[in-house]
């Protein structure tokens, strides 16, 4: 790999509005990889994306785009960034046909062949106004429009919400096709954590406006196990060695990084999914991620 290791680097980024703040955000998005952004509703994912896109002015901190600051080369950074927002940002009164004729030729570097290929693949109609598209169709269109501009850093806010499983599979394939070029990078937020279990390389968990976990995926998932401990084995101190326990009639269930508990006779353990971390995010924030 040439040049910078990181597509994005955020250092001590702060942002504040009434009732919400992003606090001391330090994070990196590795180049050539797919990074998932996970967090509850209102955790700050969308705000963070708008800060990176330079739509919102941060209070303090530094953001490096492929190693340089925004003002150092605004034109090249704008070209490199491809952002899919959670709401449409194009004229919905247009049809794809009209868009192709009137707008596309004037967009710098717009790849018409790519646009057509995926419009056909997703069976999106050329003669229907975008406003008439379903939620899922709009999501697919937004991804196609962004990727047709040939960006290098793709940032997406909930790109797969409202999209059916078959089309979601195709969208994930588009992302993986995109990172076949090792200079391309993807970061996207999603509540569909199974997508991240599949294709993500790195995970960033955000809660209450701060980064709780930032890690390589496999490494992170191997730090914990989901464990069931039957009532007769719940001795003094067992609960304290677990993160976020839930009680049921047979015993307790929860996640733990304690290897002694994993190997305890009579307990049942299973590997962690991204969803498990998303559920216990607040408890992990309190106890910290084991080294």
């Amino acid at each position: 790999m040439e040049g910078n290791m990181f597509a994005l680097e955020l250092k001590n980024v702060n942002y504040k509005v009434k009732g919400f703040a992003l606090k001391e955000i330090n994070m990196t998005v590795p180049k050539g990889m797919i990074t998932g952004l996970v967090g509850r509703n209102g955790a700050g994912k969308t705000t963070l994306i708008h800060i990176i896109a330079n739509n919102l002015e941060r209070e303090s901190g530094t953001i490096l785009y492929d190693g340089i600051r925004y003002w150092e080369d605004e034109a090249s950074i704008k070209r490199k960034l491809g952002i899919v927002y959670d709401v449409t940002n194009f004229n919905e009164q247009f049809t794809a046909k009209k868009f192709k004729k009137r707008i596309a030729p004037y967009i710098d570097g717009f790849d018409i062949d790519y646009f057509d290929k995926y419009m056909d693949k997703f069976e999106l109609p050329y003669n229907m106004k975008f406003v008439k598209y379903s939620t899922g169709m709009k999501r697919k269109l937004m991804l196609i429009l962004t990727l047709s501009r040939k960006p290098e850093i793709l940032i997406m806010d909930e790109p797969t919400s409202g999209v059916d499983p078959a089309d979601r599979y195709e969208m994930l394939d588009m992302l993986q096709e995109f990172v076949e070029d090792e200079n391309h990078s993807v970061v996207f937020s999603t509540h569909i954590t199974s997508d991240l279990d599949k294709i993500a390389d790195y995970l960033i968990f955000i809660d209450n406006g701060k980064i709780v976990i930032e890690s390589e995926k496999e490494e992170l998932l191997e730090k914990y196990r989901m464990i069931d401990i039957p009532n007769n084995l719940i001795t003094e101190g067992v609960k304290e060695r677990m993160i976020g326990t839930k009680k049921n009639s047979f015993g307790i269930t929860g996640i733990t990084s304690d290897v002694i508990l994993w190997n305890m006779e009579g307990t049942i353990t299973r590997r962690l999914l991204v969803e498990d971390l998303a559920i216990y995010i607040r408890e992990i924030d309190k106890k910290g991620v084991p080294q």
Partner: protein, 139 residues
């Protein structure tokens, strides 16, 4: 699905199936199956494997997951990486192949022993059963 994606599969007869239900980590599933294909003679020394990015896309898994599988197999001397060219099946000897196979068998036997233990079947009963199977095969 795209042509390019499946070219290497056709060329090499490589078939990797990823299960998200099993407790075996995905990188390990990839490692086991590549070893199996080498044992089966589908992959011969010198065969080029797909790049980690192509493999990741094809299997719908992470890039780092694939890299880990290749790195592990390279460390075991089963694959060899030529920077800038790609990853290939190494020139491994018969004895090495045998030991790889033994490792695979041991893993399977562990599962069998565990099932036996849980269902109250004794060590002797299992060994007797294996003897019977071997006798039948030799008939």
């Amino acid at each position: 699905m795209d042509r390019k994606n499946y070219e290497w599969r056709k060329k090499t007869g490589m078939q990797i199936k990823i299960s998200s239900i099993t407790q075996i980590p995905i990188y390990e599933q990839i490692e086991i199956q590549i070893k199996e294909m080498i044992m089966a003679g589908i992959y011969t020394p010198g065969t080029q494997l797909p790049s980690i990015r192509i493999l990741a896309r094809d299997l719908k898994v992470g890039i780092i997951t694939c890299r880990r599988a290749y790195d592990d197999l390279c460390a075991q001397g089963i694959l060899i990486s030529h920077p800038g060219k790609g990853v290939f099946v190494a020139n491994i000897l018969k004895e090495q192949l045998k030991s790889i196979n033994m490792d695979l068998l041991t893993e399977q036997l562990k599962g069998i022993c565990e099932s036996a233990r849980v269902s109250g079947i004794s060590r002797l009963e299992i060994i007797e059963n294996i003897n019977l199977i071997f006798n039948k095969m030799e008939e």
